[in-house]
C-alpha cells in the first residue's frame, strides 16, 4: 500500500448488503481514434468520425469490464443510467441492473451514439453519487467531465475508476484494460465488504490530464493537469511484488522529500511546483503547501512558507535578484516537467533562476519516484516552457531525485522534438 492510501470512504463494512457499483459510459468516446481524428471531443468531430465510418466501441468495452466484474463477484449490484450511457453495456454483460434517471431534464435517453455531450456525462455521475464505486468508460475528456461532477459532489463523491475507451488515455485514473477495470472493481468491492483496513479497500489520488485536441491536431501537444480523482488503491497490489521488497513504495515520496530538504541551504528560495511529490517536500518542512499550485518556501528556521499558490507575476517578483531553486515533479505517464500544470514557472522565471550564475543542474531539481520513471519506458522527460530557446537550453541530462540520497541522471528534451520523432 502506498503512503497516501486513505481509509475506505465508508468506514463501516457492509455485511448485510452487496457493494453497489455505478456505471457511466461515454458512448462516443474513442470514435475519433480509428477515424484518425486524434480525439472525439465535440459534436462536430463525432459527426465527422461517424461519417468516416467509425463505429462506437466504448459501450462494448464497458460491457467487457462489467463481465469481468461479475465473473469475480457475481452478486454485484450495478446501477446505471438508461440507454447507451450504461444500460446497454450492463445488460450486454448480463448484469441485473438498476436504472437511475439523471435529472434535471437531461436529453432523456440519448439512444444513438453521437448525441451525448459532456453535460450528459456530468449529470449521469451526479445521479450515481450514492454508489460505492463508479466505473466510467471513456478517455481523458470523459475523465475531465467526471472530475467536474466529482468536484460538484465534494465529500459525497464516490471513488471512481476509468475503463479505457478513449483515443487519449493519459490520465492515471484508468485501468490498463477493460477487463482489468472489472477485476479491480471486484477487488475493491471485496475489500469494502471485509471492512476497513482490508487489502484493496483503500483509495489513492490519480491524476486527470488531457490534451487540447484542436492544438494536438495542429501538431502541438499541450496536455494539462486538471486535477485528481480518488481511485481504488488495489492497482499497485495487482502489479505484483517480490516478497522482501516491501517498503519500496511507501518510502519513496517521503525519501525524496527528505533528500530535497537535506539539500536546502539557508537564504535560498525554493519554488515548489504542483504535485503530490513536491507537496511532500512542503510537508517535510512542516508547511502546508498546495497540491496544484506553485508555492515558494525557505528552509530558514526549520521552514518558512514565503508565499502560497502564487501567480506567474508574483513568482517572478519573488525570485528576481534572489538565489532560488525550482523544484518540479514529473507528470506520470507523460514525463512532462515544464509547461504542464505549472505554467506559473514561466520562461522568464526560469531565466531569472538559472541566470543567477550557477550551473543549471543545481537550480532545477526534478523529482520522481523510480516507479514513475520506469513507467516512462525509456521515453525522455519533456520540457515545454513555451520558449523553445529555453527548452533547448534545458535539453540534455538532468539529475532526478528518486529517494533519500538516491538519484538518476535522465534525458530531458523539448516536447516538440519528442512528438515530432
Amino acid at each position: 500500500m502506498t503512503s497516501d492510501v486513505a481509509a475506505p470512504r465508508n468506514p463501516v463494512p457492509f455485511p448485510d448488503r452487496e457493494v453497489v457499483v455505478g456505471l457511466v459510459v461515454n458512448p462516443v468516446a474513442g470514435l475519433g481514434g480509428a477515424a484518425g481524428l486524434k480525439g472525439s471531443d465535440g459534436e462536430q468531430v463525432q459527426r465527422e468520425a461517424l461519417a468516416r465510418g467509425a463505429t462506437p466501441r466504448a459501450g462494448e468495452r464497458a460491457a467487457r469490464a462489467v463481465r469481468a466484474l461479475l465473473a469475480r463477484r457475481p452478486g454485484t449490484r450495478v446501477v446505471t443510467v438508461p440507454g447507451s450511457m450504461g444500460e446497454h453495456s450492463a445488460r450486454d454483460a448480463g448484469a441485473p441492473c438498476v436504472l437511475v434517471r439523471p435529472s434535471p431534464s437531461s436529453s432523456a435517453d440519448p439512444g444513438s451514439a453521437g448525441a451525448t455531450t459532456a453535460r450528459d456525462t456530468r449529470r449521469a455521475v451526479l445521479a450515481l453519487a450514492d454508489v460505492d464505486l463508479l466505473l466510467f468508460a471513456g478517455g481523458d475528456g470523459t475523465a475531465r467531465d467526471v472530475l467536474d461532477a466529482v468536484r460538484e459532489l465534494g465529500d459525497q463523491a464516490p471513488p471512481v475508476l476509468g475503463i479505457p475507451a478513449g483515443v487519449k488515455v493519459y490520465s492515471g485514473c484508468f485501468a490498463v484494460s477493460p477487463a482489468a477495470a472489472g477485476f479491480l472493481a471486484a477487488g475493491y468491492a471485496s475489500g469494502l465488504r471485509h471492512g476497513p483496513g482490508t487489502a484493496g479497500a483503500g483509495t489513492v489520488e490519480a491524476e486527470v490530464v488531457d490534451l487540447d485536441e484542436d492544438r494536438y491536431r495542429q501538431g502541438l501537444v499541450s496536455p494539462r493537469l486538471y486535477g485528481s480523482l480518488r481511485v481504488p488503491a488495489a492497482r499497485a497490489a495487482l502489479s505484483g511484488r517480490k516478497s522482501g521488497s516491501s517498503g519500496v513504495v511507501p518510502a519513496s515520496v517521503e525519501g525524496i522529500a527528505r533528500e530535497v530538504v537535506a539539500r536546502m541551504r539557508p537564504g535560498v528560495r525554493y519554488v515548489l511546483g504542483p504535485g503530490a511529490t513536491t507537496q511532500a517536500v512542503g510537508r517535510e518542512l512542516g508547511l502546508t503547501t498546495t497540491l496544484l499550485g506553485v508555492d515558494v518556501v525557505e528552509a530558514d528556521d526549520g521552514g518558512v512558507l514565503v508565499a502560497g499558490d502564487v501567480s506567474e507575476a508574483e513568482l517572478f517578483a519573488l525570485v528576481t535578484g534572489r538565489e532560488a531553486v525550482v523544484v518540479l515533479s514529473v507528470i506520470g505517464g507523460q514525463g512532462f516537467v515544464l509547461g504542464r500544470g505549472n505554467q506559473q514557472v514561466s520562461p522568464r522565471v526560469i531565466d531569472a533562476v538559472i541566470g543567477c550564475g550557477d550551473a543549471t543542474g543545481r537550480r532545477l531539481l526534478v523529482l520522481a519516484t523510480p516507479q514513475k520513471l520506469a513507467a516512462l519506458r525509456g521515453r525522455p522527460l519533456l520540457a515545454d516552457s513555451g520558449d523553445e530557446g529555453l527548452d533547448r537550453k534545458l535539453t540534455g541530462h538532468v539529475q532526478v531525485i528518486t529517494g533519500y540520497r538516491e538519484s538518476t541522471i535522465y534525458q530531458i528534451c523539448t516536447a516538440s522534438e519528442e512528438f515530432q520523432g
Binding site: K242, T369, P370, L373, E406, T408
Partner: protein, 513 residues
C-alpha cells in the same frame, strides 16, 4: 479419459504431457507450537562431576524457551517442511532468473564434510591442506577474473559487494580523496550494489536504460565528476543483454578518478570467454553459490569472493592466505578494511567451489558458459512462440532473459505473478523482477548448464499451457494455486512493521498476546 484407455493396454499408464503434480500439504505448525514441557530428544545421564558454578552475572535467570521435542518429532517436522518446498533438487529451477540455479554435485558435500572437524584456531602448520585449498581457489578465481588477488572471506554475495565498497572507500581515503561520496550503478544491475553503497554512506546515482535497453552512456557522462567514487555495474545485466560498450563505461569513470567495480555474482555467461580485468575493472566479485555451484543457502552462510587489481591489494579483508613456495600461511594486508567474516571464510563452501572447478577444468568452465548460453537461447526460442510473451528490446541475450507478459496481461487481465503462481501447480515456479518493474508484467528465466533439453521443453510447455488457460479462463488462473502447500498469502502485512515477526517471540508478543 485417454489415460484410462492407455491403462487398459499397458501395464504402467503412460504419463500425460503435463505432469499431474501435487505438492504435499502438511498443515504443519510452527515448531514452538509443537513443544511439550519435559519432552527430550536425548536422555542425558547424570554428570559424574559436580556442576560448574557460573558467576551470577553470566547466569540466565530462566532457561531459554527452546522447543522441547523428541527426536522423531523433530525429524518429522523438518521432513514435512522439506516436502513443502520447490528447491533446485526438486523442480526445473530455471525460473529463478538472476539466481543462477544449478546442480550442486553431492560428492562435493562429502569433501566439505571431510574438513568439518577442523578448528578455526588450529595452528597453521596443522591445516596446511585447507590453506592450500584457499590458496589454489584464490589463484583460480584470479585467473578467471584477471584480477591480481582475491579474498574468499565474505559470507555471501552481498557481503562481497559490501567488502568491495569498503575497499573503494579505503582506497580513496588513503589517496586523500575522501570527499568522493557518489556511487553510480544501473537500474538492471543487482540492487545489492545500490544497497551496499548506500549502507556504506554513499549517495547513489542509478542510470536508467536507454531506448536500446543498454544503460544510458550519455547519462553516465553527465553523472561522473569529482564526487564519483565508483561505478558498480553488472554485465550482462538482469535483462541478459551484454553491454558492448562496457570498456567505455570503465574509461569514463577512470577519467574522473573513480574506480570501476564489476558485479560478477553471476558469471555463468562469460566464464572462460571474457574477464573483468580485461575490460579495465579495478574490482569484481563472485557469488560462489551462483557460478561455482555451492548451495544457495537462503540467508547463508553462502560464500562470496572479492577480486582486486594490484593497486587495491593492500585494502583486502584479512587475513588472506600466503604461500612462500613451501608453506602456506596467513597475513592481514597492511591497509586492510578488516574482517568481513570470522576467520578465513565459509570453509565448506570454499572446498565445494574448489572441487567443482577442479572437476570442470579450464575447458569445462568455458563449456559451462557455452551450454548455459545455448540453453538460454533455446528456451527463449520456445518462450517467444507462446502468444502474448515477449522479450523487450530486440537484442541478443547471454545467459538469462527478462521476458514480458504485457500483451497477454492486457488481453486477459491476468498478471505475470499470477501466471507464475499457477505454474507452481505443475511443480515449477518463476520470479518476476526487481522493483520497479521497467519491463511490464515481467518474468525472468535463467536456464543454466544443468538443465536438459527435455527439462526446458517441459518448462516451456507448462508456461504455454498456463498462458492458454489465461485466455480461456482467466479467473481460474487468478484463483491458483490449487495443488500447492499453501494458497496465496496476503502480502499487505509486508508493508506494516507492526505485523512483522522475524522471531517466534515477536510473533507471540505482536499477535498472540
Amino acid at each position: 479419459m485417454n489415460t484410462a484407455e492407455s491403462f487398459a493396454e499397458l501395464p504402467v499408464a503412460p504419463k500425460p504431457p503435463l505432469r499431474r503434480f501435487h505438492q504435499a500439504r502438511w498443515d504443519e505448525p510452527i515448531i514452538f507450537e509443537l513443544s511439550a514441557p519435559g519432552r527430550r530428544g536425548l536422555a542425558v545421564p547424570e554428570a559424574g562431576a559436580p556442576p560448574v558454578e557460573l558467576p551470577e552475572t553470566v547466569r540466565r535467570a530462566e532457561p531459554p524457551k527452546l522447543p522441547e521435542m523428541s527426536q522423531l518429532h523433530v525429524l518429522r517436522h523438518y521432513l514435512r517442511l522439506s516436502q513443502e518446498n520447490l528447491g533446485v533438487d526438486l523442480n526445473i529451477d530455471v525460473g529463478q532468473g538472476t539466481c543462477t540455479m544449478k546442480y550442486s554435485p553431492k560428492v562435493n558435500d562429502r569433501f566439505a564434510a571431510a574438513i568439518a572437524e577442523l578448528h578455526p584456531l588450529q595452528h597453521e602448520e596443522t591445516v596446511q591442506g585447507v590453506l592450500e585449498i584457499y590458496w589454489r581457489l584464490e589463484r583460480m578465481l584470479a585467473e578467471i577474473s584477471g584480477m591480481s588477488r582475491v579474498s574468499l572471506q565474505p559470507g555471501s554475495g552481498s557481503a562481497a559487494i559490501y567488502a568491495n565498497i569498503a575497499m573503494i572507500r579505503a582506497y580513496h581515503a588513503a589517496n586523500g580523496e575522501g570527499h568522493r561520496d557518489q556511487v553510480i550503478t544501473t537500474m538492471f544491475s543487482h540492487p545489492s550494489n545500490a544497497a551496499c553503497a548506500k549502507t556504506a554512506g554513499y549517495e547513489v546515482i542509478t542510470l536508467m536504460p536507454d531506448a536500446d535497453g543498454y544503460p544510458d552512456i550519455e547519462a553516465l557522462r553527465a553523472a561522473v565528476g569529482p564526487r564519483t567514487a565508483a561505478l558498480m555495474i553488472t554485465n550482462p545485466e538482469d535483462t541478459g543483454i551484454f553491454n558492448p560498450r562496457i570498456r567505455e563505461f570503465v574509461e569514463l569513470v577512470h577519467s574522473v578518478g573513480g574506480l570501476a567495480c564489476y558485479d560478477q555474482a553471476n558469471a555463468n555467461g562469460i566464464l572462460g570467454i571474457t574477464r573483468a580485468r580485461d575490460a579495465g575493472f579495478d574490482l569484481c566479485h563472485f557469488n560462489l553459490h551462483k557460478t561455482f555451484s555451492t548451495p544457495h543457502a537462503c540467508g547463508g552462510p553462502a560464500a562470496g569472493a572479492c577480486g582486486v587489481s594490484a593497486a587495491l591489494e593492500p585494502f583486502l579483508p584479512g587475513p588472506v592466505v600466503t604461500f612462500d613456495g613451501a608453506t602456506y600461511g596467513m597475513e592481514t594486508p597492511p591497509s586492510s578494511i578488516g574482517k568481513v567474516r570470522p576467520f578465513l571464510g565459509v570453509t565448506p563452501n570454499i572446498v565445494r567451489a574448489y572441487a567443482w572447478i577442479m572437476a570442470m577444468g579450464a575447458e569445462g568452465l568455458r563449456q559451462v558458459a557455452e551450454t548455459a548460453v545455448l540453453n538460454n537461447n533455446y528456451l527463449m526460442h520456445k518462450i517467444l512462440q507462446i502468444p502474448g510473451a515477449s522479450a523487450p528490446w530486440d537484442k541478443r541475450r547471454v545467459e538469462q532473459v527478462r521476458y514480458s507478459w504485457q500483451e497477454l496481461s492486457e488481453e486477459t487481465g491476468v498478471h505475470s505473478e499470477e501466471i507464475g503462481v499457477r505454474a507452481a501447480d505443475f511443480g515449477v515456479h518463476y520470479w518476476t523482477s526487481h522493483h520497479p518493474y521497467l519491463v511490464p508484467e515481467p518474468f525472468t528465466l535463467e536456464p543454466t548448464e544443468s538443465y536438459s533439453k527435455e527439462d526446458l521443453d517441459e518448462y516451456a510447455a507448462i508456461l504455454a499451457h498456463v498462458a492458454s488457460e489465461a485466455r480461456t479462463d482467466p479467473e481460474f488462473v487468478k484463483g491458483a494455486p490449487y495443488n500447492q502447500s499453501v494458497h496465496k498469502i496476503d502480502t499487505t502485512s509486508l508493508d506494516d512493521p507492526k505485523a512483522w515477526a522475524p522471531t517466534w517471540r515477536a510473533y507471540v508478543r505482536k499477535h498472540l498476546s
